[in-house]
Amino acid sequence: MAGDGRTVLITGAGSGIGRAAAETFGRQGDRVAVADVNQKNADETVQAIRRAGGQATAFAADVSRRASVDALVASVRQTYGPAHVLVNNAGIALPSMSIVDVDAATWRRVLDVNLKSMLFCCQAVVPSMIEARGGRIVNTASTAAKVPRWEIGAYCVSKAAVLHLTRCLAMELAQYGITVNAVGPGATITNLRANSGVPELPGSAEARREAQLKGDMGTFRIGVPLGRLGEAQDQADAIVFLASPEASYISGQCLYVDGLQSQC
């Protein structure tokens, strides 16, 4: 599965799953365009990749805005040539609240950042993939795309739409040899909440981990049958596989990397 010097553009690559995926692509010899809304985080990812002997450049971009996406993709192209792989990983979490109380601005924001960003990035990157008669797109969905979750309904809705957009894009781009897939992370240790400006749940990190593993019947959430939380690297490995040449007959799929959490 060694890389052959492809250009890989990853959004939300400044932390968590995006950073782990960026480092993994970097280790296998791909040129990694590290995009994040937070320049400092993107820089840190780039430094980690370079320390390991890989090639990477940081790009600051707000992927929920079309102009920012177009500028991003143009800069990446200038630096590394057209992208062979696009990983739409940028996303935000929301504070817990009843779905009855989520206001219009919050709905728009979560749909813009988690969903519309993906459309924008694909619209900007796909023309060069069509020219190249091939490409790989991998989107970060969530178990919340499949399973309704208590008091994070707007997030679930955005991810369900992400999953469906993944499949629609797969259908439309199949004729060009472009595959479009998703990974569906379950509970994964990342800074998603902090990076989204969402307060941590109460209790120590250890207590929160135990609660995730055990599940909560009051909010209708099972624990993790495999008995551990996911690491960003678990997701990264699945993303890198779906982006690999070996995955050429896989499209429109969501690979749930969740320790069985979506089986409820």
């Binding site: 779905i99 796909v126 629609c168």
Partner: protein, 261 residues
Amino acid sequence: MAGTERVAAVTGAASGIGRATALALSRQGARVALCDRNRSGLDEVAKAIQGEGGQARVVELDVSDQGQAVQAIDGIVEGWGQLDVLVNAAGISSSGPTSRGPAMGISEQDWDRILDVNLLGTVYCAQAAARHMIRQRGGRIVNIASVAGIIPRINSAAYGASKAGVRMFTKCLALELARYGVTVNAVAPGPIDTPMLGPEGDQSIRARYVAGMPELFRLGVPLGKLGKPEDVASAIAYLASEEAHHITGAILNVDGMAQLS
């Protein structure tokens, strides 16, 4: 079937599935608040209901405007004292020149409009209704999803994503309202003979939906016919009935098996 004295609000009530649903609920004895942007269409449906001895009121409403949605729902409760059923039937399949083409060419404006009406319009009305139903400790919300929200359709990315969102919204809302005895379900129509399918009287497009479109990797309808708005309305009326009290978070296909998998 129960229904006497119940109050139902139906969005998109001026035509198609919404209109058929309003008539079906009225025939079960419900007082029906007809909501739509199309005032003359609303008046026609209201007249039809009143002509059958039913009770209807009309509410001009663009569901994509949250303020209007809240005002409409609160106004119905104010006028009739309660809200037992909300049917979110307002929806569009096209919002501009790029909305029904390849995803790579959809404009931001067309994308936003489809999401605003189909998904957020459903959300705003359901949120407003839920507040009353929580207080009442009971109620029925029925949304219109679509087979196109679970099976990827070529040239339907915006519509499909909006309906995938409606499916998940239905389940999340159902989960959170379950403890109040409020049920939330959806129907998922396949091809239904409404103006959304194509210009009225265009038989060739209708025949293609039934037979399938191999160039779009799209199967036809195993039952060999298009659904009628009344077929969907019957399913909605059931999900909105007292009998359906143990069904929630469900998506009921009314599609002649157009969704094969």
